[in-house]
């Protein structure tokens, strides 16, 4: 537990705003503004915040899908240029996207979708690719018959399982879960959350779990970071955040979190 698996140091992701006749750059949108945190091997860091606070941008910046404006990201203690090393880094860090309906190429079968990263990165020898695809499908609780089918033939929960299998294909050490359950039904959400937990136990994965609600994050996270307007306003263990929130925004967020059990509801509203 000495070196963190991922260190994010003063990371900024700004988008230029261009207006006017000559497309002059007038200002920036500070999507991620000076964020720092660490994730240790095997733990889950939950990242919560309202829509538009920059949490997804942060996740995409970490795997190099968005250009880093300023700051430093260290993986396994080594500084990484995520813009130039995007291809090789994808083997270490993977992402599960929010919307399982639009994030799978509709023209490729599930077998092709899963085989593609395996071939591109030479994860397994060519003749073992089919077995590996089957193994991945079984890992996320799908049967081998899914191989020949197309994404539109699956339900949302099944598609998210495919999305997870796809992320696992490269055998990454860190998985960024970018609101992986918010597009799903509540009953399916629980299944997928349990799958994440089970995979973490079996494969020793590290998660950065992004969500806009506290419910999902509380269930899965060891530590929680609360993000507001591009900055992390509070970070602590799940217990600290829920029992003793420090920042005003965290308190508001907790107040908005519905408690399914009416007898427990009163405890929170008193705070």
């Amino acid at each position: 537990m000495d070196t963190p698996l991922l260190t994010v140091k003063n990371v900024k992701t700004y988008y230029p705003v261009k207006t006017g006749f000559m497309n002059l750059q007038t200002s920036y949108v500070r999507a991620v503004d000076d964020v720092s945190f660490e994730i240790y091997e095997g733990e889950t860091l939950g990242l919560v915040g309202e829509s538009g606070c920059g949490k997804s941008t942060l996740g995409r910046t970490i795997i190099g899908l968005e250009p880093l404006t300023d700051g430093e990201i260290l993986f396994d203690g080594k500084p990484m240029n995520f813009r130039t090393d995007r291809v090789s880094l994808s083997k270490q860090i993977q992402i599960v996207f929010q919307d399982p309906y639009s994030s799978l190429n509709p023209r490729l079968t599930i077998g092709d979708l899963l085989a593609e990263p395996l071939t591109v990165h030479n994860i397994v020898p060519r003749n073992e690719i089919q077995q590996e695809v089957t193994r991945l499908l079984q890992l996320v609780g799908l049967s081998e018959t899914a191989k020949a089918r197309y994404p539109h033939e699956f339900s949302g929960g099944q598609r998210q399982r495919i999305g997870i299998a796809r992320a696992l294909a490269l055998r990454p050490r860190l998985i960024i879960c970018d609101e992986p359950v918010s597009a799903l039904d509540v009953s399916i959400q629980a299944q997928i959350m349990n799958l994440f937990k089970q995979l973490q136990r079996e494969l020793g994965l590290t998660y950065l779990f992004i969500a806009h609600g506290l419910g999902a994050v509380k269930y899965i996270s060891d530590r929680i970071a609360v993000m507001y307007a591009g900055k992390i306003v509070e970070m602590g263990t799940a217990e600290q955040i829920f029992k003793n929130p420090q920042h005003e925004y965290t308190k508001k967020l907790l107040g908005a979190y519905p408690i399914p059990d009416p007898t427990k509801r009163s405890i929170l509203t008193q705070q």
Binding site: L65, S88, S90, F97, P106, R107, E116, V120, H121, Y150
Partner: protein
């Protein structure tokens, strides 16, 4: 899939029938008749009458149509030209080759230019390159065929004398591949400007739509190289709507042939169509109309079939899930 094609072919029969009926009626409503074009005005009325009876022009219109249809269905015969007395089938076949050479080359070259430029334009949206391509394609669409054709003839044939102004070979020459190529340059430029101009925009907008899709981000997250992401994931999805448009390009080219072939004296279907209209050559026109209608229908059916092959979701619904 086979049943689907068969169904489409069966539907084509009443469509073709309807097209010939309408064409026949329109043709007969137009002023003028073949006799005036064929014989000297000085000929006595009795002789003109005899010629009209010989050509069957004095029969009621419905009977003339019936005779034409009966001849086609029973013998597969389109009759004889009222102007040259040659068999219509052989006249059309003779003109088909030059038209296919011209249109086929224009279509292939146009797409070879449009697809890469469209992709480049989309991947580098709002760059200088994008603006150049979009403006160029706008010009290609906007300039009328005949106008660009005449300018090219004026500059390259009349002023510079670099290229021939028309025809497929020199007068009295025996042709050959080299001469054919030289004669093709100008008409091909005109047609390609149009085809490429139109399709650059289709490819660009289709690619832009796909490039914004979430699954391209997934492909990048997989660690695929950018070229691979664009070619394998984006282009293949973008090609689905483009295939439809390419299919519709064939009838457009066929129609454009009439103007282009006239300007460049290209001995093809278009030129034959125009001269047949001038001569009120009813029987040849009926044959040409039938061919044109057939081309349009065939292009549509072909598009649907190709569509099924490029989109696995549609293909699967035809095959019925068996794979």
């Amino acid at each position: 899939m086979f049943g689907y094609i068969l169904r489409r072919l069966l539907i084509a029969i009443p469509v073709l029938f309807g097209v010939t009926v309408i064409n026949f009626i329109i043709m007969r409503m137009a002023p003028g008749n073949p006799i005036d074009m064929l014989v000297s005005p000085k000929l006595p009325d009795a002789a003109r009458e005899a010629k009209a009876i010989e050509l069957g022009l004095n029969d009621p219109v419905y009977l003339q149509y019936w005779n034409w249809l009966k001849n086609l269905v029973m013998h597969g015969d389109l009759g004889y030209s009222m102007y040259t007395s040659e068999p219509v089938v052989s006249m059309i076949l003779e003109r088909m080759g030059p038209t296919l050479i011209l249109m086929g080359t224009a279509l292939v070259l146009g797409l070879l230019i449009a697809i890469p430029l469209g992709i480049l334009s989309a991947t580098k949206q709002y760059s200088k390159l994008d603006y150049i391509f979009v403006t160029g394609s706008f010009l290609g669409i906007s300039i009328p065929n005949f106008f660009l054709g005449l300018i090219l003839v004026y500059v390259f044939a009349v002023q510079l004398s670099w290229l021939p102004s028309g025809g497929m070979k020199e007068v009295g020459g025996d042709g050959g591949f080299g001469t054919l190529l030289v004669h093709m340059i100008l008409p091909i430029i005109v047609l390609v400007a149009n085809v490429a101009g139109r399709n650059i925009r289709y490819v660009r907008s289709s690619m832009l739509e796909i490039l914004g899709q979430d699954y391209l981000r997934t492909a990048r997250a997989k660690g695929l190289k950018e070229l691979f992401v664009v070619n394998r994931h984006a282009l293949r999805n973008a090609l689905i709507p483009i295939v439809t448009i390419i299919g519709l390009e064939i009838p457009i080219l066929f129609g454009g042939a009439v103007v282009i072939e006239q300007i460049f004296s290209w001995p093809g279907i278009g030129q034959l169509t125009l001269s047949s209209i001038m001569n009120r050559d009813y029987s040849t026109l009926m044959g040409l109309n039938l061919v044109a209608a057939f081309v349009v229908i065939a292009a549509n059916i072909l598009t649907d079939i190709v569509y099924a092959f490029v989109d696995p979701r549609i293909r699967k619904s035809y095959v019925g899930g068996a794979k």
